[in-house]
Amino acid sequence: MREKLAALWEKLFGDSLRAFGVVSLIFLVSLAIAPAKNFFSEWRHYQHGYLRMIRNRSDANTLQRHFQAGIQQIWLPELGVVDRCTSCHVGMKETSLTDVATQPFRKHPVIPHQLEQFGCTVCHRGQGAATTVAEAHSSTLAWEQPILPAKYIESSCGQCHRGPLPGTPVLNQGRNLLSRYGCVHCHTVKLPDGSAMQATDDPPSLEHIADKTSREWIYAWLKDPQAYASTATMPNFKLSDDDARDVSAFLMANSAPMQGDALSVSAKAALDPTAGASLYGESFCASCHAVQNAAGNLVGGNVGPELTRVGSKVKPEWLQAWLRNPRSYDPGTAMPHYRFSDVQVATLAGFLEAKSDSDLLANVHLEPATPEQIARGKRLVSDYGCASCHEIAGIKKPENFAPELSRIGSKPITQLIFLSGMPHTLPDYIAGKIRNPRAFAAGLKMPQFTFTTGQVDALTTALLALNDRANTLPPALSVATAPSSNYQPAGKAGKLMTDLACFSCHRINGRGGDMAPDLTWEGSSVQRDWLLAFFKNPGTLRPALIRRMPRFNLSDPEVTELTDYILTVYQSPAVDRDSLPLSGYSSGQIELGKQLFYGKYSCQGCHIVDAKNDKGYIGPTLTQVGSRLTAAWIYQWMKNPQLLRPGSAEPNRAMSDEDALALTAFLMSQKGGAKEVAKK
């Protein structure tokens, strides 16, 4: 061996000339390594592949002209972007490549941003400066953020866009869930603009809970909230039997009785057994509350709690007091104060009490609580942070109860503990944590939520948007959300509107729900007599809607107060109510309007004027529109509906003044019943 080596040495470096030659050769070869690596690099391989692919296409010349060889780079210093992705993804801007299925040659789908303006990694993550597939797409030792899976891609929109966008339903849903399921009660989420994300779930105060329900129900609810109501947003804390026993004991012992004699059963229910069901229907309770029907489907809205088993939950005297005036128990409730008569209260309460489930509490047998159990219950309530969501007398709302999530979307993977078998990526960690929070370690407190896979993906998307980039973007790029409004109407009418919870369904000046029409400019829109009559007996304007305005049994002075306030205060600057007369249009104008209605504009597709022949029911029925709306409003509506009600489905027809006036004349002639009588 030794001799062999010596012989080799002699052979290579025996004389100086030979040594020089060999060293030169080694030098030459080592110099050639870098160009060779470059020549056989991956991106060059893909660029050759691209050129081979376009060679046989009919648009080869155009594509060839657009093609630029070599490493391509998008450099945006203010965003910290150095993206070389376009070195391999060569055809991204070629609109003619829609038929190409293989990556990296597909055209980029249409988005509202320019590639040169934002680069690639702002949305897709990954390592922009890399020039090999593995380094660009995956986690490496030097780079943590792999390519973001497509299902979370909308999180990237959320880095700049703070509000909902029409093109990002998943992100919007995720953000809503964070608020609606009360995640932000425990987890602080500070948005990049400095504000904190607010919860929208309004968990009830537990200060008078003993007046409302039984200890057995609390026990059953704590053990499994979704067994009582599948739509419950309260998560399952997976309490043991003893824990649930003690927490329920504490909550009952800690509850103070309500003030006054609000809890009393005063009247007998109506004798008619169907009266309760029809009162439930007439009052449109289903607009907000859902009930499971015989087929197991939930029917109704999700503003208020599900009522399928409400009879097993609430005490009869509490239910009656609640129906009489919900605000006496919970001043901030979204439920309107219906002015029910005592008989109506008793009838509706009886109907709701019958909605019970004997299985729910069948196996709950609790001994009277001992002081030790109550004390332990109090400790558990503090430990689990119940007061983060609920008001509980004697227990302060804990600060920073759970980890802050303001930058969760950039959490380093090295700080995460993964479950075995779980892919080591941040999105997988977040989704896994939401799906099964307690699996990650013993003694964790985060409760179990019941989310569908789609909801988990949406929540993960919303959380991934809370990242470092979102917090360090140039402020000019951030697109703020519409500021939340705390508009409060003034005076007596304002109090009345709070009492009736108008804002639970209607939006006025930016505050309120979206179940019913925006009333910001209602005062310019409707006639006084119609509004007075509507409050007394709300009719149906849109036959196809299932959610309708309930009757609140208002007194005459209340109706007048509300009507006058609405007509005076909620006026649009674009409409002068008195600028056009309510009647007195010439028959020629009316006839022209009719022709336009049925001909040029074909309004009968969506609206009914002649109840016998017209069938369209997307828009409101117009048989009585002449006694409902002001002429000035109709005229302005014809000119530009979205100006008066943004987002309205009525198309803007850009009508001439003559057409708009003729249609106004025709519609104002539709006085409903009154007209029929006059004809006869």
Binding site: D99, T132, V170, Y601, Y617, R653
Partner: protein, 263 residues
């Protein structure tokens, strides 16, 4: 994975440093082995259940032709049924699902239940377009019987279009009613064309479609019941709507792009 395959390295190697070819080949072999092992680790999944019965045919019970966003779950699970020669449902037959890379199935393999059905949640891949998914079962002679289903993934622009469709168009153009949205289709004297009607829409060019949306039915000599939306929708809104219509039309539009299927 196949894009970054060792094959590329192997074809590249001999040309550059021929004198080192032997050691290079050795390296390539090691590389290939490490790749193979990493691949096999990835594809390893829950053990394949043992079928207790075999069917002769596989049919769709529901879940085909659904529309979702790229990367997202289909709104409804895909349900297939395995039948025997007489057309009776077979319980305990093995059903395997496969699709283009990026499509995920939960579970990917399963046995049919007591009604002969297998129910699978499907999430589509990251690119917008049509996805073909294949459900296969095996008959008594271990011959593969396949069923091909088609699903649609919407990209950003089509999602925007689908939202505009829900706000402005669907009430008339979709004959199906739901509890929340009663269809106006039956009330119209001249029926609008549902957007899935590929035979109608594929014959209309993008420009004509844009004109009909912007200026109403009369722009194409059609009914005035189709109003003009040009003052309500922006140009990009109309483009988004067209992209949506092209994505959902059946048979597929030639603008719909390629179909993603396995391999």
């Amino acid at each position: 994975m196949n894009r970054y395959s060792p094959r590329n390295v192997r074809t590249a190697a001999p040309g550059c440093l021929a004198e080192r070819s032997r050691s290079l080949v050795f390296c390539v072999v090691i590389l290939a082995m490490s790749f193979a092992s990493s691949c096999s680790r990835k594809t390893e999944s829950s053990p394949v259940p043992k079928p207790t019965a075999f069917g002769a045919a596989i049919v769709e019970s529901g879940g085909g032709k659904q529309v979702t966003q790229t990367g997202a779950l289909l709104p409804q699970p895909v349900v297939v049924q395995v039948n025997d020669e007489q057309g009776n449902a077979v319980t305990g037959a093995l059903v395997e699902f496969s699709g283009a890379p990026g499509v995920s199935f939960d579970p990917a393999v399963g046995l049919t239940d007591s009604s002969g059905q297998a129910t699978i949640n499907v999430a589509l891949g990251g690119m917008s377009g049509r996805y073909q998914i294949t459900a296969s079962t095996w008959d008594k002679s271990h011959k593969k019987v396949e069923l091909k289903l088609e699903e649609i993934a919407l990209g950003y622009q089509q999602t925007l279009g689908s939202r505009l469709n829900a706000q402005y168009c669907e009430r008339c153009h979709n004959p199906e009613s739901t509890v929340e949205r009663v269809s106006n289709y039956d009330n119209l004297e001249i029926k609008p064309h549902p957007f899935s009607e590929g035979d109608t829409y594929n014959a209309i060019s993008d420009a004509d479609l844009a004109a009909a949306i912007a200026h109403g039915g009369p722009a194409l000599g059609k009914s005035a019941l189709m109003p003009a939306w040009g003052n309500t929708l922006s140009k990009s809104d109309i483009q988004a709507l067209i992209a949506y219509i092209r994505a959902v039309s059946d048979p597929p539009s030639r603008y719909a792009g390629p179909m993603y299927s396995k391999n």
